[in-house]
């Protein structure tokens, strides 16, 4: 993987939001744009050029793989947002999804791929695909994933409780669907994939159980992500690993040292300058301004955005760790706060500009 590319971007002082959703919603027909690969690709391109970055990020639509999975299982009428398995998927269903890895995609999913293809083939930008991570997708397939994982963490086995069996089978389905998504995005020309695991955090996985020796983090999070990482590495596609959830130091360290992404993107609950001590210096840290609060001037006035930006820059410079300043996650469009959010993104990107460090 091309870690040097991202290290050079960090050295150059790059700042960028995950801003595709903001630009998408400048279109009054955003819903139609999402189903048109070329127009969606233009949104990716516009976003990258507006924010002065060579990285053209796909829309962070973490429903795509679930939508595709349900379609592969024949649940075409299922509501993507609310569907949960009522009992553990069967081994046959898991085999079915694996066997359909080359099946055509539905319109919305195809538009996502075509957008990547547009950027890769028709621009000079780096096309960055997007996918939900296997643990996070598993949680979306179950009504109560936390209890199931907690029981596994307490030492119970799939034979002991149907919830644990369901978690294992849903994880297998999730991994198969994501592997298919990654293969298609790679084929479309993605140079990097942002793999998003927002649920792989201490809400879903008990730090108390992990500290006591439970292997739930290894079994449910790291193992499937390591397999997907290998898939990317085999195709020479870079991994940008994103987790904006509340994490323990141990989780951050494991993500960095075991998955060895080119870029590790973290949420605002982390102090990146402290995480710099946990993460090897060949991994760029991305983030982590609290952009989820940008909708509110009461909670996050522009002055605070500026002061937080200045603090983050100064502290990261002190660590000497490669850093690309950015948003803690996808900066979502909020209709009644669009201008407010945009202004704060601009503040984040422009204040306290420093000269790039000399190349080493």
């Amino acid at each position: 993987m091309r870690k040097s590319f991202y290290l050079d971007l960090a050295t150059s002082g790059l700042r960028m939001p995950v801003g595709t959703d903001l630009v998408l919603h400048e279109h009054p027909d955003a819903d139609l744009v999402m189903e048109d690969g070329r127009r969606l690709g233009l949104v990716m391109e516009t976003t990258a050029r507006r924010y002065g970055t060579p990285l053209a990020l796909s829309l962070m639509d973490l429903r795509l793989e679930k939508r595709d999975l349900l379609r592969l299982l024949g649940n075409v009428d299922a509501d993507v947002d609310t569907f949960h398995f009522q009992e553990a998927p069967s081994e046959d269903q898991v085999a079915q999804v694996r066997a359909l890895s080359a099946a055509p995609f539905a319109k919305r999913n195809q538009a996502h791929l075509d957008a990547v293809r547009y950027v890769a083939k028709e621009t000079d930008l780096t096309a960055v695909g997007m996918a939900i991570g296997p643990f996070s997708l598993m949680t979306k397939l179950m009504a109560d994933p936390i209890t199931a994982i907690a029981m596994a963490g307490a030492g119970l086995e799939p034979d002991d409780d149907p919830g644990i069996l369901m978690a294992h089978r849903c994880l297998a389905l999730a991994e198969a669907a994501i592997a298919r998504s990654l293969a298609a995005q790679i084929e479309a020309g993605a140079h990097a994939i942002m793999l998003c695991e927002p649920a792989a955090n201490r809400v879903y996985l008990s730090p108390k159980q992990i500290e006591a020796g439970s292997d739930i983090f290894e079994r449910f999070v790291l193992e499937p992500n390591l397999r997907l990482r290998r898939q990317l590495a085999d195709a020479q596609v870079d991994l940008i690993f994103h987790d904006c959830g509340e994490l323990t130091d141990s989780m951050v360290k494991e993500f960095a040292t075991r998955l060895s992404p080119s870029v590790l993107s973290l949420g605002s609950s982390r102090q990146l300058w402290k995480d710099a001590q946990l993460v090897p210096k060949d991994i760029v840290l991305f983030g982590n301004l609290p952009t989820k609060s940008f909708y509110s001037d009461a909670v996050m006035p522009e002055e605070k955005v500026e002061s937080l930006t200045r603090e983050l820059i100064a502290r990261m410079q002190e660590t000497g760790h490669p850093h690309i300043l950015g948003s803690e996650c996808d900066v979502l469009h909020v209709p009644e706060a669009a201008g407010r959010i945009s202004r704060k993104v601009d503040v984040m990107l422009s204040c306290a500009k420093r000269a790039p460090a000399p190349a080493t």
């Binding site: 947002d81 609310t82 109560d144 936390i146 209890t147 994982i149 907690a150 029981m151 963490g153 307490a154 201490r202 809400v203 879903y204 996985l205 008990s206 730090p207 108390k208 159980q209 989820k292 609060s293 909708y295 509110s296 009461a298 909670v299 979502l332 909020v334 209709p335 009644e336 706060a337």
Partner: protein, 211 residues
């Protein structure tokens, strides 16, 4: 210190142990209400305390809630027959447009463990549904949850719906969820704001005058 068998089972998230301890206690003639007041509520309060000081996390809360519900399933029919009154009645849900329910489920579980009668409306709940449920169940408290900034306005809309219906003074409305702040709660006219599940129980008790 939780020393009784039921309390320890709840504290340890041991569903089977909680059910066994409840059956044994009932067989020994212990009153159902006393089991709730003397064992379950103190155990769930301790769970809440451990959560607030970060010795327990959400998974431990859910395991304890599961154990508590196993015991409650045995006790509630007995309570109903005896005419015992809950600490208060709560209608809870995630507001319209929002499908997130982890926080809401936690609050619901802890409120139940705290002796409240809880009516969980689920997620994506319209203001009219909150209104109807509050009337149907004679709720003391309506608890609104939102996890997205774009759905927080539904909290305001729900409070407005109660106001328009002339029902605002009949209930206390509390709000919570990751993007919600005390400032926002005050701005929209909520009666209370809770930043986490165990604080929600304390708030609910205070609002019904049972702290």
């Amino acid at each position: 210190m939780i020393e009784d068998a039921l309390g320890r089972a709840v504290l340890n998230g041991d569903s089977k142990g909680a059910i066994a301890a409840t059956e044994a206690a009932l067989a020994a003639g212990v009153d159902a209400g006393e089991l709730i007041r003397g064992s379950m509520i103190p155990a769930m309060d301790e769970v809440g305390r451990l959560f607030q000081c970060e010795e327990y996390f959400v998974p431990e809360l859910l395991l304890a809630s599961r154990a508590m519900k196993g015991a409650l399933a045995l006790l509630q029919p007995l309570l109903a027959r005896s005419g015992a009154q809950p600490t208060g009645r709560v209608v809870i849900g995630t507001v319209k447009g929002d499908l997130h329910d982890i926080g809401k489920n936690l609050v619901a579980s802890l409120l139940e463990g705290g002796g409240f009668e809880v009516h969980d409306l689920g997620a994506d709940v319209a203001p009219e549904a909150f209104l109807a449920a509050a009337e149907q169940w004679q709720a003391d408290i309506v608890a609104l949850s939102a996890l997205l900034t774009v759905t927080m306005p539904s909290m305001r809309n729900t409070i407005e719906a109660f106001r328009r219906a002339g029902a605002r003074d009949k209930v206390k409305i509390i709000v919570g969820g990751a993007p919600v702040t005390r400032q926002y709660a005050d701005e929209i006219g909520a009666d209370g704001y809770s930043q986490d599940a165990s604080a929600a129980v304390e708030l609910a008790r205070a609002l019904v005058g049972r702290n």
